[in-house]
Amino acid sequence: MSTETLEKPIEKKPAEPLFSNRRKKFINDPLSSDNPITIQVLGICSALAVTTQMRPTLIMAISVTLVIVFSNLLISSIRNLVPSRVRIIVQLAIVATFVTLVSELLKAYQYDMYKQLSVFVGLIITNCIVMGRLEAFAMGNKPWDSMLDGLGSGLGYSWIILAVAFFRELFGSGKIFGWPVFEAIGLSGFPTNGLMVTPVGAFFILGIIIWIQRTKSGYSEH
């Protein structure tokens, strides 16, 4: 801890702008080129489980983003105090605290969604994206950078699960946010696809999204 004061440069550098190019990358990268779901293939479990409809997916996306941002912030602010031998447990305890808070808030203000999401809110604790960002980024970076990094990862996760939910609800139930799309455009007999309602449907859509993205970016595993 005392070493940090020694490392400080003597002359004062101008403060880095709040959204410098380096910091913008924290948000932009996870949205596409370093997306937690499509590139890192993390957080697949909840991406399959909650994406049958848009509304619960949106609530889930907001919850995960809030948990990542705030646990990143907190862990990063106490990173020099956390004993390295128990750091994973400390991260887990903090993530669990935030997840329980989110769950309690949902129970109070969004009871319908609380019932529908039920166990998956609790399982945010085990979402690899959250722990992954804490261990890989927040433990070694300053609070503001960590917050932006968490926000980037959260949004990267959010847009993918919302995209999956969009297609699953559209083709599985013929609705978007519970609003009957096909009836509205005069195709009331449009057949819904039962496959989309099951987790298998999510695999297909996720696979297609990854396919398109990797074709465009030329990314390959090896």
């Binding site: 305890a93 329980t100 808070l101 309690e104 129970k107 109070a108 009871y111 309602v197 099951t198």
Partner: protein
């Protein structure tokens, strides 16, 4: 950098106290809202079996419930129970059907919700009965509303813990609930026949009658759970139902 064991223990202790304290605070602070949410949910479910609640929200549901529902609790013999073993007053809405499900039928408390015109307790329009049973993966439950003949199903609302989305979970869908409407639980001589879902879906119309409705394709086991749930619970309520039936027919005879 290696910290001493004392540091690690003190750090963990402080972390636990801070996190625990925060959660305890949140739990206490949010409790009134959570209880209201649960109450609203139960009342909406009970009312949902009788009236279309589309567009009604929040306090309007609680007000409507207060005006139009009279709740009582009965036992297996059909007698009204007002106090539990310890002498505390029983509130029908607070009776946990899931907990009672684990007791022997003779010991169970069975709530009945009477739906009447706003303010007029004598003009009962429907009786709502809670039901509870086993689906394929977990518990299923619901509220079934009967017409004043205590035989014809006026409406229902079902819910489940973990039935498969798109298959068993369809018991909550309006098109499935509609199949129960207008069906009859009792035969001409008052014997319980119940309403059963058939195996498979799109059964020919000649297979369906007052006691048989179209089933759920791909969810035969959930449908069986529904059948067992309805049959057992109306078995328990039979004594009460017979009592009310004989009461109403005698008062009608006097009126004539």
């Amino acid at each position: 950098m290696q910290q001493s064991n004392t540091y690690i223990i003190v750090f963990s202790a402080i972390l636990t106290i801070v996190c625990g304290g925060l959660l305890a605070l949140a739990n206490q602070g949010l409790k009134p809202m959570q209880e209201k949410s649960v109450e609203l949910d139960t009342k909406a479910k009970i009312l949902g079996a009788v009236v279309d609640l589309k567009g009604t929200k929040g306090n309007a549901i609680i007000d409507l419930y207060g005006e139009s529902i009279e709740a009582i609790t009965v036992n297996l013999e059909g007698e009204i129970v007002e106090k539990d073993e310890k002498g505390n007053a029983i509130i029908a809405e607070k009776v946990d059907v899931a907990k009672n499900y684990k007791l022997a039928p003779e010991q169970r408390l069975l709530p009945v919700f009477k739906y009447h015109k706003a303010g007029d307790k004598n003009a009962v329009e429907a009786y709502v009965f809670p039901v509870y049973g086993k689906g394929l993966w977990g518990p299923i439950w619901g509220f079934i509303a009967l017409e004043t003949d205590l035989n014809t199903i006026k409406g229902a609302s079902y819910d489940h813990k973990s039935e498969t989305p798109g298959l068993g979970a369809r018991i909550t869908a309006p098109d499935v609930i509609e199949r129960y409407q207008g069906k009859k639980l009792y035969g001409p001589d008052g014997e319980l026949i119940s309403v059963n879902m058939l195996k498979g879906e799109n059964n020919p119309a000649n297979m369906l009658n007052d006691h048989k409705i179209d089933g759920l394709s791909g969810a035969t086991l959930t449908a069986r759970g529904m059948n067992a749930m309805i049959e057992s619970y109306f078995g328990y309520y039979s004594a009460y139902i017979t009592k009310i039936k004989s009461n109403t027919s005698s008062t009608m005879a006097i009126a004539q």
